[in-house]
């Protein structure tokens, strides 16, 4: 998996590509949660993420908890169908903020 980070004013957008699974979740955790420990407002662009297993859900849960604990915020957008289903089955679509697209995600972060 790969992460490219864009800065939009106060907000960071992590553009993630590939799979977040057992093999890649340690790397994903490292790259995706550091900013949230600093209380940043962060958007995860999931449009190029083709696969998320429970290992990936763990990373998302950690991100959400870190955001709350550090007065930051995290919003996911652009979820692909298989990924969307995993979030729905696990109830994670009610646990973290998900938006359809980048504009809606930035709006949710108060851009």
């Amino acid at each position: 998996m790969n992460v490219i980070t864009e800065v939009k004013g106060e907000i960071l957008i992590h553009r993630i590509s590939g799979r977040i699974d057992t093999a890649t979740s340690p790397e994903a955790e490292g790259k995706l949660t550091a900013d949230l420990r600093q209380g940043r407002r962060v958007a995860f662009d999931m449009s190029a993420v083709s696969y998320v297993s429970s290992a990936g859900l763990r990373v998302v849960l950690m991100a959400a908890k870190l955001a709350r604990a550090n007065a930051g915020a995290v919003v996911l957008f652009g979820l692909q169908p298989t990924v969307r289903e995993v979030f729905a089955i696990s109830g994670f679509d009610r646990l973290v903020t998900i938006r359809e697209d980048e504009a809606a995600a930035l709006a949710a972060l108060g851009a």
Binding site: T22, S90, G91
Partner: protein, 145 residues
């Protein structure tokens, strides 16, 4: 009927190799990309659980994975079976995580088996001859039109 049989070790590399073989086998048998990916998620949850938890940490072990794909009129009948000689563990009786719990209450445990249950049609467990035998089945319907 196309059958894939292999032995999987406990390392991340071994698990990945097994999951790659499963996904490839499904695609070659005619499964749609999304279906193969869903079944890879199912396989990952099952295989990772065995690799991590079936034996004490550090022990080199292997377990059997079998995947059969049977093309019938109504679609592809997929069955995935794992056999391991680790600690007795019945995935079908694990507690379901509370999917309505809020962020503070939400825990990590049980998510994998929840995905397995929801993404397959049937799950069967038996303990025989000192081995866990767990199989899941899923019918991949033919796309119409």
């Amino acid at each position: 009927m196309a059958t894939l049989r292999l032995l999987c070790g406990r390392s991340v590399a071994e698990v990945t190799r097994t999951l790659d073989a499963i996904e490839e086998h499904l695609l070659e048998a005619g499964a749609a990309v999304q279906d193969a990916m869903q079944l890879r998620i199912v396989a990952e949850e099952i295989v990772t659980n065995i690799a991590r938890c079936a034996w004490p940490a550090g022990e080199r072990r292997e377990f059997a994975v079998e995947l059969t794909v049977d093309a019938r009129l109504d679609g592809l009948h997929v069955r995935m079976t794992t056999v391991d000689d680790g600690v007795p563990f019945d995935p079908t009786t694990q507690p379901t995580p509370n999917v309505d719990a809020g962020l503070d209450e939400r825990q990590i445990g049980g998510l994998g088996m929840l995905l397995v249950r929801e993404m397959t049609d049937e799950q069967h467990y038996a303990r025989e001859d000192g081995r866990n035998r767990f199989s899941v089945e899923r019918l991949l319907h033919r796309a119409t039109g």
